[in-house]
Every structure is written in structure tokens, then in C-alpha cells.
């Protein structure tokens, strides 16, 4: 276990470093990317631009620039080029919103996908299975910006059943918090439910034919116990991997569309706005932040794996 943690920490450091270098380089070669010109405002004088360059260090060697920027990442002094707001604070502000969205949606999509997938497998080939298959494929095919916008427009704006976007702190009012998040959770889950329930269905159908399921039946166990203890438990192993990685991606700001459609002001939306303005410091920080979560969740998935399947050992 100790070696496992050390290896994963090293891996995490390497991935974050690599991501930072790539992000930094990409924004250096993007056309129109010179931040000084953009910061100087409309029709600036050459002297103004020069002054900004000197002040922000844009005229330094690229290695020096990278180094000073990275130093700021670790001291927490990173500041947006355009809003002048500290990047760290902005991410911390967005994090509870993104986490609220990610945790709620991940639980929702996993729960619904297990129900759909299991039911579909038990009813394989029958009407219910075909119906759920179509629903799943429709869900996979619906882009979140479209279904989210429709939900927002009809359920939120027209019917007034749900708030029209926005976010309420959990600590302020937990019920209102959940009420504001129902639509985003649903919109984000639709895609994952479709995908996960399809994967689970085929896993369950494979597992049902295993010899040990026949043994379980020969033992005289009830159908429910066979399905949950013997079939589902073994079918969940691949799903848990997907779940961990998708969750990591959403926490790391991957739910850009959902956050933007429902104006949640989370990390993803912050990153998206920063990219739109070619604002390097927030982009760099959010990318590293995302990489951090993806690697972290990867490690957690591996630990969960060892727990779910005793044949797997961490090393």
C-alpha cells in the first residue's frame, strides 16, 4: 500500500507537470495570443503595450516566464491577466458548485443506470429491454447543451417549476440547494445513464452465464440474492472504473456545458470563460486542477478494484 501511494503521487506530479508545460506552450504559440496587446485595451499606444510587457514579464525568456508562472501557482499568487482576480480564490469559489454538481449527478446516474441495466438484462429481448435500449440510445445521443437548454426553458422559465439556473450554497439552505441542482443533475446524468446502463446490461448478461451463478442457483438461493450478491457484484467491476474516471473528469471541470447552461459558476465554467479570453493563468490552473482529480480518481478506482475483486492486489 505504501509503495502504491508513493508511485501514484509521483505519477500525479509528473502528469500535472506535463499538463502545465503543454498548456503553457500551446498558449504561447496561439495566434493573437500576446496578452500585452489584449490587456492594453482598444487602440493602445506602443509605449503602453511595452509598459505592460515589462510589468508582467512578457518580454522575458519563455523558460523564465514558465518558471515565474509556476512559482505563482504554488505560492497562490497567480492572477488573471484580464480580470486581475486571484485565480486560486476563483477556483476555490467554484469548487463547491462543481462538487455539488458532480457528486449529485454521479450518484444519480449510477443509481438509475444500475436499475435500468439490471432490469434490461433480466428482461433481455423482451419489450422492456427494447424500450430501455431505445431510451438509452436517445440519452446518449442528446447533447447536454440542447437538452439542458430545453429543460431550462420549459421546466424552469415557462412552467416555473424549477429555478432558472443559479446556485444556492448548501450551508445556506440545503433544500434550496438541491432544488437548484435538480435540473443540472438530470441533464448531466442523461448521457451517463444511457452509456452505463448499456455497459452494465451486457456485463450482467455475461455474468449470468458464469458457472458460479449456476452454483448459486443450485444452492437454493433466492433470485434477488443471486442477482445482487453473485451477478451484480461481479458485473459492477468494470462500471466502477468508468464511474471513477468520469467523476474525476466532471470534478476537474469537465461538465463545462452543464455548468454554463445552468449558470452554476463552477470550475468548468470558469475554465471555459478563461479559454475564451486566452487568459493563460486560469487556464493553466484549471487544467492542472483537472489533471489532479483525474489522477486522484484513477488511484481511488484502483483501490476500489482491489476491494471489489480480491484477486487484484495493489503493488
Amino acid at each position: 500500500m505504501g509503495r502504491f501511494v508513493v508511485r501514484r503521487l509521483a505519477q500525479m506530479a509528473f502528469v500535472m507537470w506535463a499538463v502545465s508545460v503543454l498548456t503553457f506552450l500551446i498558449f504561447n504559440v496561439i495566434p493573437n495570443g500576446d496578452p500585452a496587446e489584449r490587456m492594453a485595451g482598444k487602440q493602445p499606444r506602443e509605449a503602453q503595450i511595452e509598459a505592460i510587457r515589462r510589468e508582467w514579464g512578457f518580454d522575458d525568456n519563455i523558460f523564465v516566464q514558465y518558471f515565474t508562472t509556476m512559482k505563482k501557482v504554488f505560492t497562490g499568487d497567480l492572477v488573471s491577466y484580464f480580470t486581475q482576480l486571484p485565480v486560486g480564490e476563483e477556483i476555490v469559489k467554484g469548487l463547491p458548485r462543481t462538487l455539488s454538481l458532480a457528486i449529485g449527478a454521479a450518484l444519480l446516474w449510477m443509481f438509475v443506470a444500475i436499475c435500468f441495466g439490471l432490469y434490461s438484462a433480466v428482461r433481455a429481448g423482451k419489450f422492456a429491454d427494447r424500450f430501455l435500449t431505445i431510451i438509452a440510445l436517445v440519452g446518449i445521443s442528446l447533447p447536454v447543451f440542447w437538452i439542458g437548454a430545453l429543460m431550462n426553458h420549459y421546466l424552469g422559465f415557462k412552467l416555473g417549476w424549477f429555478p432558472n439556473g443559479g446556485y444556492v450554497e448548501f450551508t445556506e439552505d440545503p433544500i434550496d440547494w438541491a432544488y437548484h441542482l435538480i435540473l443540472p443533475w438530470t441533464a448531466l446524468s442523461i448521457l451517463f445513464v444511457g452509456f452505463y446502463s448499456r455497459v452494465l446490461r451486457s456485463n450482467v448478461l455475461d455474468t449470468i452465464n458464469e458457472d458460479y451463478v449456476r452454483t448459486a442457483r443450485a444452492k437454493g438461493l433466492g433470485e434477488r440474492q443471486i442477482m445482487i450478491r453473485h451477478v451484480l457484484r461481479n458485473s459492477m467491476i468494470p462500471i466502477v472504473t468508468l464511474w471513477g474516471l468520469d467523476f474525476g473528469a466532471v470534478v476537474g471541470g469537465g461538465a463545462i456545458l452543464t455548468e454554463t447552461v445552468f449558470d452554476l459558476q463552477g470550475v468548468g465554467q470558469y475554465a471555459a470563460e478563461a479559454v475564451g479570453q486566452l487568459d493563460v493563468p486560469p487556464v493553466l490552473a484549471t487544467t492542472m486542477f483537472a489533471a489532479f482529480f483525474i489522477v486522484l480518481l484513477n488511484a481511488i478506482v484502483d483501490i476500489a478494484y482491489a476491494y471489489l475483486d480480491p484477486r487484484i492486489r495493489l503493488q
Partner: protein, 361 residues
């Protein structure tokens, strides 16, 4: 393999425990309806070991699994009856079957490597069954599981009970399967090729263990196998299956020393023996078993049988045809005298030599 005098003694008398009558099992497949089991009937008495022998596809495993309701599926059709202590198993409800499975009739499967759930400890897989049928508290069920593991010869059972199946060898896993099957003291134990996946030394130990358990508990054992060595070692009575039917049935001695059906002759003729000169090639029955979807009319063995004659296009009933042997039945139209004349009780040459090689019609 030597025959154990204890095993060859006359079958214990008494009322049959399990009576199967005219069992028919069909499966709807893409190539049409396949009849896997065609009118199989047999009885097992308490303490008796019945061996069901036949090659792959003869319907022996399907017969065994059908008794447990394990072949049920939307594509399967069943007819006939199997009576066990007042329960008719073939058409019983799932709920009725669930009470019989594991508790009254238990089963050991062919492949111990895949028959245990890899993600649960072996102890909990045994405890699960005990609690399902007897509702014992955790500690008591666990104690019983330790005793069972100890009884089937798992060393340090108290520690090993918390191991996972992958931490056991194949032979040890089969012992775990036996412990599992015995955990609720079943009256009938169905063993579907229990030693096929094991090496020969382990096989002998497992068989020995099964015989001891029969002696201790008085359970009836139905042993499904294609291995005549195993049969000679342990069985009281033998039913030989071919292509979905029982073609011959009798005691161990009757089948081994006075076989009536040409298929049985062929089976016995293809045993490799260490106590006889080795033939150049291991003799085999010429031809292949018929496809289940397209079987010959009349006797199913007809196309491969060198002794075929006109009458063979009618289905021979399974009946006693040898004088003085009422329990020895077979499905062959030849008269007892003709059979005696045509079969040669020499291994490698039994009966099938008459057409010498031309048997593969």
C-alpha cells in the same frame, strides 16, 4: 483400476428416493428443436451410487441439471416426471425447487475453477447456503462450515475458511464444492463429472471422499461421467446413455461383465488398460454420435453399429432381456444368445470387430 469389493456389493435395498419417469428435454435452437433427453427413466435408492455414463452430448448432464431445474429457460421444454419425496421436480414452481436445491438435492459441478464465485470468501459461500435453508445464526453456520471443510480434507480449515477461491488449487476447490454440497445434509448428491478437471491422484482422493460420505450419511449419489475408470471404482449401478436415451442399465458387474448393448461393448472396448498388452491404436467406436437435431429413426446407435439389421429402424424399448437379471435392461433388438455370440469379452475388440472398420456407415 481395481474394483473395490465394497462398491460392487449389491445395491442397498429400499424404496427409491428419486424416481425419474420418461423425462424429455427439448431446446429450441436456431437449427430447430433439439431433443437432448428422450424418455429417460431411472430410480435411485438411499445410499446407492448410480453412475450415468455416456459421451459428450448424450444428454447425461442435461438430465442431471434438469432434476435441479437448472436447465430451465424460455427455450427449453420439459415432459415426464421426477418424484422426490412428494415433490415433482420437473414441473415444480421455482419456490418449491428453491427449497429442494441445496437442502435436499445438492450438486457438484464439473469445473471447480469456475464454479465458485471469485469475489466471495469460500466460508461465506458455504454459510450463505446454510443460512438460506436453516436460518442458523452467523457463528453457528460458520462453525458448521469449518467442520465441513475439515471433513472433506481441507487442512487448517479454520484459517482457510476466510480465503478466496483463487487461493486454492483445483482439487482443493472441488473439496470446497463438496463441502458446499454437503452443507445441508442432502439426501441426493448429483455429481456432474466431478473429477474430469482434476488430475488422477486428486481424482482418487475425491472419489474416496464421496464414497465415505455416502457411507456416513446414507445419501444417494448420481454420478454423471464419461470416465469408466471412475465408474468401476465407485458405482453400484450404471445407466449408459447414448444420444438422449438410456441404452443399457444394470449393476456394475452386469454392465462390466455381461454388457448387452453394442454401444456398451464399444465403450468398454475403448478403455486403455495397464494390465493387458497395449494395442497399436486405442480402439474407438467408428463414426460420430448423431446430431441432436437430426437423429436416425429407430435405434440411435444404428448407423455406427456393425450388427444392425432390419428391425433396428424401430425404437427398441428399454427392458430386461437377460434371463435371471430383472434389473438389467437394454435397448437392443438382438436376442440374448446372439449378443453373447457376437460380443467378444476382450478389451479393444469387444463386439465391434464384426464389420472390421466398415462400421462408419
Amino acid at each position: 483400476m481395481s474394483t473395490d469389493p465394497a462398491a460392487t456389493s449389491a445395491p442397498p435395498s429400499g424404496e427409491p428416493l428419486l424416481t425419474v419417469e420418461d423425462l424429455q428435454v427439448t431446446f429450441a435452437t436456431e437449427e430447430g428443436v433439439v431433443q437432448a433427453v428422450e424418455g429417460v427413466s431411472f430410480e435411485v435408492a438411499p445410499g446407492e451410487i448410480l453412475a450415468v455414463v455416456g459421451e459428450s452430448g448424450s444428454g447425461k448432464s442435461v438430465t442431471a441439471m434438469t432434476l435441479m431445474g437448472l436447465t430451465r429457460s424460455p427455450n427449453a421444454g420439459f415432459e415426464g416426471t421426477a418424484h422426490y419425496k412428494g415433490t415433482e421436480l420437473v414441473h415444480a414452481s421455482e419456490e418449491q425447487l428453491r427449497r429442494v436445491r441445496g437442502a435436499e438435492i445438492a450438486m457438484i459441478f464439473q469445473d471447480p475453477m469456475t464454479s465458485l464465485n471469485p469475489v466471495h470468501k469460500i466460508g461465506s459461500q458455504i454459510v450463505e447456503q446454510i443460512q438460506e435453508h436453516e436460518g442458523l445464526p452467523d457463528q453457528q453456520a460458520r462453525e458448521r462450515a469449518v467442520e465441513l471443510l475439515d471433513k472433506v480434507g481441507i487442512p487448517r480449515a479454520r484459517e482457510r475458511i476466510d480465503n478466496y477461491p483463487f487461493e486454492f488449487s483445483g482439487g482443493m476447490r472441488q473439496r470446497v464444492m463438496i463441502a458446499l454440497a454437503l452443507s445441508c445434509n442432502p439426501s441426493v448428491l448429483i455429481a456432474d463429472e466431478p473429477t474430469t478437471a482434476l488430475d488422477v491422484t486428486i481424482q482418487a482422493q475425491i472419489l474416496q471422499r464421496m464414497r465415505e460420505l455416502r457411507d456416513e450419511t446414507g445419501a444417494a449419489i448420481i454420478l454423471v461421467t464419461h470416465d469408466l475408470g471412475v465408474v468401476a471404482d465407485i458405482a453400484d449401478r450404471i445407466a449408459v446413455m447414448y444420444s438422449g436415451r438410456i441404452v443399457e442399465e444394470g449393476t456394475l458387474d452386469q454392465i462390466f461383465y455381461d454388457p448387452q448393448h453394442p454401444y456398451t461393448w464399444g465403450l468398454l472396448g475403448s478403455i486403455a488398460r495397464v494390465d493387458r498388452p497395449r494395442p497399436e491404436r486405442l480402439p474407438a467406436i467408428a463414426g460420430l454420435p448423431p446430431s441432436l437435431a437430426d437423429r436416425p429413426q429407430g435405434c440411435h446407435f444404428r448407423p455406427r453399429c456393425p450388427h444392425e439389421f432390419a428391425k433396428c429402424t424401430e425404437v427398441p424399448p428399454l427392458e430386461a432381456r437377460v434371463e435371471g437379471q430383472p434389473g438389467h435392461c437394454d435397448r437392443c433388438w438382438l436376442s440374448a444368445e446372439e449378443k453373447k455370440e457376437r460380443r467378444e469379452v476382450r478389451p479393444g475388440e469387444i463386439g465391434l470387430e464384426a464389420k472390421s472398420g466398415a462400421g462408419a456407415a
